[in-house]
Symmetry: C2
Subunit: 116 residues, 2 copies
Amino acid sequence: MRTKSIDSIEKAAQILKLLGDKTRLSMVKLIENNECCVCEFVDIYQASQPSISQHLRKLRDAELVKERRKGQWVFYSLNKESQYYKFVLGILESVPSQDERLKELEKQGLRISCCE
Amino acid sequence: MRTKSIDSIEKAAQILKLLGDKTRLSMVKLIENNECCVCEFVDIYQASQPSISQHLRKLRDAELVKERRKGQWVFYSLNKESQYYKFVLGILESVPSQDERLKELEKQGLRISCCE
DNA sequence: TTAATACATAAGCACATTATTATCTATCAA
DNA sequence: TTGATAGATAATAATGTGCTTATGTATTAA
């Protein structure tokens, strides 16, 4: 879809609700420009693996993110083919970058250990 | 504030969560260009008066909307002085207009009876 | 084939959110 | 002043959400 507009108020509310969780919002912002795997999210948010997986599932069910398996790892990224991509992007524009969190991971050597 | 940007991811998530309810999102979109009173919302959303008041309270607590008493009625509108106004406006841009709901009210003669 | 790692999913619990019911205050009109 | 209307708020009930624990599947490395 070419525009940022959403066709129904219900759909817009559903997407906003999904982004209305600080963990999910931060994850989505992070994968705006990066591809991340589940274990990285677990390290970054100090959360349990099932908790992260469940957040990702909601985002995937709404087709906001897509997954790519590479060996034993599953990498997540923003779904640019989603009809809501522009809408999400417009929101992320106003959200502070989360790249520091990834840099922190790299500093700890945790990024390389898991993914590459 | 001059920019659409939000300073913290938590605050951004909080606002998105508030807008992530179809009744609240529709109300906020409606008062983007209109001033509405509680009884109008009650008619429009076929909701109870306390339910509407509670939604409005959340929006007011977050300073996204402001109220103006006029006689026995309380009119709500978007708070243009909020530091998150631009952010909210940016989101509303992509949300379908809800003005039809007001027109429907007028057609039923319910708008004039209550407010004016 | 077996063990280990990465991830997904299901069930159950704790907490948050929303709606309802009841009650209270404020304004206005008689 | 009294009654009616608009709205706020408190208490409670119903529902939803997110987390943990337990377990299942896929991939890799031994």
